[in-house]
């Protein structure tokens, strides 16, 4: 309660200046008796590119899923552009977000999944077109035009009429990226988007993300185990362990001069594992 009112006051002060696009305030999340996020505080400024790294099970995916409203929170508050994601005010009271509220908030967020999750019964173009028509009520022509544009961003114009099963994993993932981008989200979430891919297909997807990071001012959070990619992509790297941020800093700080022993040992294992 107090955290919420304080945050609102702070946000009022910041209006007109740079307001955090994402703010986690003492967020906890449990699945049954398993606590996955533990009093997490973090903030992201508009346009920032963040890489979330850390051992498996440290809660990275859960953070993205909470932002995508696929998972709720157990305690705390998340603000998107200053507005509570999982709560709303009704009759002067702070209550759990309704589906209506979540739908409004969700519009600003897009996600790309580890397993692509393309719609298998639709072609590449239709996968990108349909959400624009259904969710944003765009005309078919406008949606198709946007789909063509997005397919060219990810370099798949020639595959536009292919079904997902006719595409390689890397191509499917690039279509999934195009599908999410076509909705013009303010925040894009990427959850280990290359970890289901054959090694030779990883770079084509990472290169798309590198290009996006460079050329767009969309706020992006990516969970990744590709440390070289994280270094290119991110403005800031967060190292997680057991639902807490152990260390945060620029890629230079984290990868070259990590302060925490736990970060060093994680990276050591990782880099020897890879090379």
């Amino acid at each position: 309660m107090f955290a919420g009112t304080r945050a609102q006051a702070v946000n009022a002060d910041l209006r007109g200046q740079m307001q955090n696009i994402i703010e986690f305030q003492d967020v906890s999340k449990s699945f049954g008796s398993l606590q996955v996020l533990d009093d997490l505080n973090m903030h992201v400024v508009p346009g920032e590119k963040l890489a979330l790294i850390g051992p498996s099970g440290s809660g990275k995916t859960t953070i993205l899923r909470i932002l995508m409203t696929l998972e709720d929170i157990s305690a705390g508050e998340i603000l998107l552009d200053g507005e509570p994601l999982w709560h709303e005010m009704r009759g002067g009271k702070r209550v759990r977000a309704s589906e209506h509220h979540l739908r409004k908030m969700r519009d600003g967020v897009g996600m790309v999944f580890q397993q692509f999750n393309l719609f298998p019964h639709l072609t590449a173009t239709e996968n990108i077109e349909q959400p624009q028509v259904l969710t944003h009520r765009k005309s078919k022509a406008a949606a198709r035009e946007k789909a063509a544009e997005m397919l060219s961003v990810v370099g798949l114009v020639d595959k536009r009429d292919h079904y997902p099963h006719q595409l390689s994993g890397g191509q499917q993932q690039r279509v999934a990226i195009a599908r999410a981008l076509a909705m013009d989200p303010k925040i894009m979430l990427f959850d280990e988007v290359t970890s289901a891919l054959d090694p030779e297909l990883v770079e084509e997807v990472l290169n798309v993300l590198r290009k996006l990071a460079e050329e767009t001012d969309t706020t992006m959070l990516t969970v990744t185990h590709e440390m070289n990619f994280a270094r290119d992509f991110a403005d800031r790297v967060l190292f997680f362990e057991k639902g807490k941020i152990v260390e945060a800093g620029s890629p230079e700080d984290i990868f070259t001069n990590p302060k925490e022993e736990r970060t060093r040992s994680f990276l050591r294992k990782f880099l020897t594992g890879i090379n």
């Binding site: 995508m68 409203t69 696929l70 739908r103 969700r106 519009d107 967020v109 897009g110 996600m111 999944f113 397993q115 999750n117 393309l118 719609f119 298998p120 019964h121 349909q130 959400p131 259904l134 969710t135 599908r179 999410a180 909705m183």
Partner: protein, 218 residues
């Protein structure tokens, strides 16, 4: 016992009329079974425990009792409660209701086979619940359901003689009425069996082909 072609010719028009009723009862009954089955499947998967639980057990109750008893109930007991159904209406409701408990399992399995990631993708793209069902889940769930649903259609076709018990003059009953008044059983009943075979063998072959077609795709 001698086969008489004149008896066969004599009964033929009644059998043809009966066959039409049989086909109508099968198709309308199947439509009821499919629509009700889909609704039942959705209810069984409801996040509300009470809804899921009560629809599961009512479905089990209907499935574990004989169709013949259900038909009697609809046609002979409901009038006591002030509900009067035409024989054909009672027949297709009974048939449809009974088989909806089977088709609901086909629908449920088909829907549950759509990966969780598809629901999540739809949610991440801000689809409404109805849009998710209509544009994401059902288009993927329905094709593999077609072969088993076709098989239930054939089974329902074979079960239609039960409607004779509530005075529907379908194929079997048409033959039965003729037999009882002319004391001729061989020709009418042989023809009834032949008619059933003539329809159900090609239908079964078609169902197998559908099944193979979908298996190859999967």
């Amino acid at each position: 016992m001698e086969w008489s072609w004149s008896v066969a010719y004599d009964v033929m028009p009644r059998l043809a009329a009966g066959l039409i009723v049989t086909v109508q009862a099968t198709l309308v009954g199947a439509l009821v079974a499919y629509v009700l089955g889909l609704a039942l499947a959705i209810l069984k998967m409801s996040p509300y425990r009470l809804v899921a639980w009560s629809s599961y057990w009512s479905s089990e109750f209907v499935r574990r009792t004989p169709l013949l008893v259900q038909l009697y109930f609809l046609f002979y007991v409901l009038p006591d409660l002030g509900i009067f159904l035409e024989p054909f209406a009672a027949g297709v409701i009974g048939l449809g209701l009974h088989f909806s408990t089977y088709t609901s399992e086909v629908f449920r399995a088909g829907i549950e086979n759509v990966p969780k990631g598809q629901w999540e993708a739809a949610r991440s793209l801000n689809y409404s619940t109805i849009q998710t069902w209509r544009h994401v889940v059902l288009p993927q769930a329905i094709p593999p359901m077609i072969p088993p649903l076709a098989n239930y259609l054939i089974t329902m076709f074979k079960e239609t003689p039960l409607l004779a018990a509530i005075t529907v003059v379908e194929l079997f009953n048409a033959a039965n009425i003729y037999s009882n008044s002319h004391y001729k059983y061989l020709e009418p009943m042989t023809l009834v069996g032949t008619f059933f075979l003539l329809v159900s063998i090609p239908a079964a072959a078609l169902a197998i082909r559908l099944e193979n077609a979908f298996r190859r795709k999967a």
